[in-house]
Structures are given as C-alpha cells and as structure tokens.
Symmetry: C2
Subunit: 448 residues, 2 copies
C-alpha cells in the first residue's frame, strides 16, 4: 500500500508531501484494522468500537498497549488480523524509510554506492526492488527463526496447533517491537525460561537496530568498513543494554514483588536482562512493572525516551540522536566546532535536528501527561510512565491504560500515532535540509 500510495504521489495524482502521505497511510491502515477487528469472526463476544480502534492504533503503531486482553477477547482470526496490522505497520516503517531516504538521494545503507534519484528511473527502481527484497529476507529469516526457537517452549506446553501459533505470534510481535502478547500477564509465565529470555530479546534487538545496521553487518562484515551510523548504533546499544541490565538488577534485586521473589541469581539476571532489553522499544514484561521501585521506573522512562534505532520499528528519540545530543554537549564544552566519533566528524548542523526532535518529544510528553492528569486521578509517575510508553511506542503499562476514560484513551491513541509518525516525519524534514557543505570527511547519521 505504501508503494502504491507512493507511486501515486510520484505521478502527482495525490499531491501530498511524504510526511502527510505517511500519516495518511497509517490512518487508512488503522481504519481498515478497526473494521476487521469488528467483524463477528474476530472476537468471541464482540468488541466495542472504541476498543477495536484502540487495538488497531496500538497494533499499527507497533506499541502494544491494550484495553482488552488479546489472548482471550480475540479469536485466532482476530489475532491474525492484529498480527497482520503489526507486520504491515512494522514493515511499512522500514519500507517507507528506504523510500523516502532514497527519494532524498541519501545513502540508504545497503551500499554507499547506491544512490536512488527522485525521478525513480529504471536503475533506481531495480535497486529499490533489490533493497526491498533484502529487507523482506531479513524479516522472514528472523521471524521464522524466532518462531522455531519459541516453538520449542510453546509446543510442549500447548500442543502443536496452539503452540505453533503462539510461537509465530510472539516472534512477529517481538521482531516488530510490538509487545503484543497472548497472555494477560505478558511474559511473566516464562520469566525464568532461558530460551524465551534469549529468543525474545534477540528478536527485539535485531528488529530495533534498523535495517541499515543489519545490512552493514551482513554485507560489510568488518568493523572498520561500517558506517559511522552503524558503529554508533552498535556501541550505543551495547552500552545501553549492559548498563540498564546491571542497573535494573541492582535496583530491584531485593524487591520482593519483582526480582526478590526469584529463586536464583541466574533467574534474577535473566529477568533483568529481559526487562532491560525490552524497556527501550518492545512492550513485553516478565515481571509486574507496577511493582517496580520509583527509581527503576524513572530509569525505565529514560530508556523509553531514548528508544531504538532509526529506520527500525523502535520508537523514542533514537539511540543515535541521544549519542549526538551528548557528543554535541561535550563538543560545546570543549569549544569544538564539530562532533568527533570513531575518526569521523559530524557537523554541528545536526544539532538542530537533534534539538528539534528532543523539543517536540518532550513537549508532546508534557502535554500528554498534563492532559492525562486532567482526565485521570492516578499517581503521577504512573501517568508519566504510560504517556512515555505510548509516545515512544513501547507499550509497557503500569495498569493505567485500562483505567482511563474515553478522553484519556484518545490522548494515549494520539500519543501512539504521533510517536509512530512524528519522528519519521521529522526525519523526512531532516533529509530535506540543505546539503551540508563538506569541509571534513563528513558522515551521515540518521536522526529520529
């Protein structure tokens, strides 16, 4: 549908700027999804329009917040619709990212020699098709591999039919960082299962890196040949993963309602690793998040705001944006005119993009929380958690979303939509910027 809309736009049948086109295609997908979920065949006992809309928004924006229990309210057909929405929403982002970046004449990551032109001539169309094929391959391999691994857990427990379906559902949901689960308590039942604690996080990490990073890894293979973007993403992700795992374990180790109740240190580390990976983009949980300490919650909120990789299904301001934010601050204190990293330099003009993205994100959170406090009388930290979870399309919950009235739900839905469309839209504006005059060996870092 994206390609179709896109080609329409190129033929000037629809004269919309790409960000509007992106928002429009998501909106259309959401409406179709809502209608599909309203079909009698999708649910056991019917579903209110508001609930169907919320579920469709949550699925298309790969967030994972829910107002009904996915596992019990929907039939397998309904769950399949949700899975399709997740896949289209998640894939759409990747494909659209390629399309707009290529249309802008920016390197699209697979090879630095491939530049696609705005007129989409023969060569570029062929390149584009090749690119999309690679993306589809990565998606297919990861999701089927994940299914196979998860099936080793679910099939013995639930039998072939249900087990395979659960493995497929959770694999696709994890790879697209969607966070939808078929159990009301998400992944709590598998909190101490090593295979699940390996498979789900790996899918989430790979899906959250962004296709250009994966392409660099598989095609270039050597560290020194990686683009600056890939290097920053890999180092940043590794630091965040290790740091948040350790911090989570330290803070929650003795909390009787979370890690404290687990038998062994290994189990505690497993659960910490799982939550630390999941907190930035995917919306699963293997412990009860409402029982976390306030400081762990604050760490969680910070990680959600940082998010995953550009051109991935992850939300937030993105890891590279966060790194550039820190490097720019450092450069300022050192009175440097350029940001240096891995022997490359990034122009300070990038700071404008970072700043615009951070300002829009923080203002959205502020307004969202402010409006939520008007509609709901819950604890402030929980409202903040829920708003950030929606805006960063993470989808973890401390139980507030279920309690919200229709206005509160609308705010959450808007936050999810902005979170999904916004950063990319901004990314588009970024790409449209005047090309930077090259003074030093410059490098492109995707922001937002």
């Amino acid at each position: 549908m994206f390609i179709w809309l896109r080609s329409l736009a190129f033929r000037r049948t629809i004269n919309l700027p790409p960000p509007a086109l992106l928002a429009l295609s998501y909106a259309i997908l959401i409406v179709i999804g809502m209608l599909a979920l309203e079909l009698p065949v999708s649910t056991h006992h019917g579903i209110a329009w508001g609930d169907a809309l919320f579920t469709a928004v949550s699925a298309v924006t790969v967030t994972g917040l829910g107002v009904v229990d996915t596992g019990s309210a929907f039939t397998t057909t309904g769950q399949a619709f949700i899975l399709l929405l997740i896949q289209l929403g998640g894939l759409g982002i990747m494909v659209f990212a390629v399309l707009i970046l290529s249309a802008m004449g920016l390197p699209i990551g697979m090879s630095h020699h491939v530049f696609l032109r705005e007129d989409l001539n023969q060569t570029s169309v062929r390149e584009l098709v090749r690119l999309l094929k690679v993306i589809l391959w990565v998606v297919l391999v990861c999701e089927l591999g994940g299914t196979a691994l998860l099936a080793c857990v679910t099939v013995p427990e639930f039998g072939w039919q249900t087990g395979l379906w659960q493995a497929l559902f959770h694999s696709i949901s994890a790879f697209n960082n969607a966070g939808f689960a078929l159990f009301p308590d998400s992944m709590v039942r598998w909190a101490n299962n090593p295979l699940v604690n390996f498979t789900i996080p790996m899918l989430v990490i790979i899906g959250g890196l962004g296709y250009s990073v994966i392409a660099d890894i598989f095609q270039l293979r050597q560290w020194r040949r990686f683009s600056l973007h890939t290097k920053l993403m890999l180092v940043g992700t590794a630091v965040l993963l290790v740091g948040s795992t350790v911090l989570f374990a330290v803070l929650e180790w003795d909390n009787a309602k979370t890690l404290g109740s687990m038998a062994s240190a290994f189990d505690k580390w497993q659960a910490s690793w799982f939550q630390a990976v999941i907190s930035r983009t995917a919306g699963f949980n293997s412990i009860n998040l409402a029982e976390m300490h306030d400081n762990t919650t604050l760490m969680f909120i910070s990680l959600m705001l940082i998010g995953g990789g550009s051109t991935s299904t992850a939300g937030g301001i993105k890891v590279t944006t966060f790194i550039i934010l820190l490097l720019a601050t450092l450069a300022f204190f050192r009175r440097q005119q350029r940001i240096h990293a891995f022997g490359r330099s990034v122009g300070l003009e990038q700071v404008l993009k970072v700043q615009a993205l951070v300002v829009t994100t923080l203002l959205s959170v502020m307004f969202g929380v402010f409006l939520l406090t008007l509609t709901h009388d819950g604890e402030f930290l929980n409202l903040l958690f829920e708003a950030v979870s929606a805006l960063a399309t993470v989808g973890v919950s401390r139980g507030i979303t279920g309690e919200l009235d229709q206005l509160g739900r609308t705010i959450i839905m808007l936050l999810m939509f902005i979170g999904r469309v916004g950063p990319l839209t901004l990314g588009f504006f970024l790409a449209m910027q005047v090309p930077p005059r090259v003074r030093y060996p410059a490098s492109q870092v995707y922001l937002g």
Copy 2:
C-alpha cells in the same frame, strides 16, 4: 570579596579560571555563613551543623528551601546574617556577571559602546565602577521602596521595630528572589492582602529580569532602541506571567484546599497572580503548594525550569534560553539557517549553547531525582518538585525537604549549588566561544 578574588586572579596570584573562581567564592561565603549561624548569638537554642550549613547554602544560592523555621529558630542577629548572605549571594551574581562579561569584551548592557578589556585598564576600571554604582543604586532603590510599601502592612500589625524588620527582610528576600520568609507558612497570612500581592511580585519580577534589562529600560526608554535581549525578556516575561496566572486560576479555581476556599474572585485572581509570579524564581507561597492538583504542580515544575532572566538572581535555564529553544525548533521546521525575532537575527550557533544548557539541566534533575528516590520513599511528583525547586534555586516546597535524611539533604544542597553556579559557569564558557562571524546584523542574547 568577588572583586578582591578577581583582582587576585588578574594578578595571577590565584591562577583559576573564572568559573572555578565563582564556585570557590560561593563556597567560601557558605562556610563563613555556616560559622556565623553557629554563633550562640544567632539562634535561640543552638542549631545543628548540618542545619546551619543547609541554611547557609540556601541563603547564598538565594534558593529559600529550609530545614529549620527562619522566623522562630534564629534571633534577629541570625536573621540579619541570613539577610546578609542573601544580599551578598544575590548581588554577587550581578556583579560577577558584569565582571566576567566585561572581561570577555562583551557588551555589558548599560551602553553598547562600553567594552571593557581583559587587562582592565584605567578607562575600563572607571567604567566598571560606574556600572557597579548603577547596579547598587537599582538594588538600594528597589529594596528600600519595597521595605516602605511592606511596612504599611507589617508595622500596623507588629509595631515599629518588628514590623520594619519584617518589611526589610521580606523586601530584600523578594528582590533577590530568595524566598526566605519569617513565617513558617511563608506568605499564606497575606494571601488576600492587595499591597503585599503587589509589592512582593513587583520586587521579584524586577529582581528577576536581570540588570541589563533594567538598565535598558531606564536609560534607553524607547522600545525600538532596546536590545534584542531586552525585548525578548520583556515579551517572554509578560507572556509567561499572564499565561501562568490564567492557567493557575483555571486549574485551581475549585480546589477547596487552595483557591476554592477563598471568598471572592478577586482574591482568587490575586493568589493566582502571586503564585504565578513566584513560581519561576522566588520561593514564597501564599497557598499550601502540597495541596495543588498534579497538573498545576506539573505547570509549576515547567515554569521553575524556565526560570527568570540571565544576569539576574533567578535560576532555571532562563527565559531567553527557552525562547531561543522554541525559535530554533521553529527555524528548523521552516528550514531557516538563522533565528529571527524583532527584525534581528540570531545565529544558529547559539543553539549549541541552549542545547548544552538544557542537557546539563535535565541531566542534573534526572540524577537528582534518581538519587532522592534512593534515600526517600515519598511520592515521586513531590521529589521531582523538590529537586527542580532546588536546582532552579526557586525554593518552593511540598514538604519533602524537612523529611529528608542527611544524604537527601546533601543532594538538595548540591542541586542548589549547581543551580546557582552552573548556569553562570556555562554562561562563562559561552562567552569564551569563538566570536561569531557577522553575516547579518547580529545580536547578542545572553543564555543561561
């Protein structure tokens, strides 16, 4: 003392960069203050060292958070010491601002023809003395005028001696945005007194504008001759004052524990105006802030982070920084290379300063709150409120500071110190930046 330290530094007897010098002079002032407050003559029944230190930090950084009741714990002598610390702390900032800006060869606001050189030659010393005289005059006129007005309320109520002392104390405390009051409930007793609701906010506003703005107003008199900085400050302050008064009134109008208990609409508007003015920099309160709704609290936190004017006694990221932040975001979306305001342009290189300041401020708040959640088990919103109040040297409280253990108090003291020294220190770094190449008629905006 500042001048003495400064001249020592110029003679290279002490070889410290100005930011370190600033921090050092505050630290010395704090230690002297602590010793003075420990004197038997300062308190009725003695005071713990920790309490004396906390009070000294709070006074020198003109914050106003307290662990003991200023009115009942300290004798008039002790209160006079506190007042002296406030005055030195507050004045020190203004004087130091002139000194470092002049040393950097930047226009210091009084006249755009006055540039003082780093070697402080004869002419510049004479100019400097003239400038300092003007500052001292403004301080003296405002503080004595405020005392006279407040005395009309306090003298009839408490008699000449106590009444005049209270008028003087609150006038100086207000002009320096210090927020120290002689009553345990701050200004609640005068919540409906029109004269107090006029005098205190006016002192706070003038003190919070920054001397360069006041100098522009008194010396240039015509709007079109004002510097861009002055225009931005005046418009920004007016918008913030009107907006926050209205929003405060709307949100709290029916809250039985704040505005709801007041008899007339006039009283409610008075109290809203008072709290709206006070929230950005001074630390008084005429209603019980712990009873505000969560959304009002959130608004309050945002206003505290914005703060007052550069080179004033106010804290926060400063009004102009906030405006530039918004204008830069707007410029980015419009794909402009410069920020435009009032027919002047500001180079985007300013964005670096803004960004560094915002990042440092937000990281400080995050770390502060994070550490506070480790030491204290209170409600998150209250801890956030207290941390921001300390870092932005505002000094309002929802009652947490009194409950903190020694570690928690230390964190609050550090936040106050960073809040007081940090932004200016950063301002110093800013001033040291490479002079911008002038392309358009450029204008200097003080940030932080």
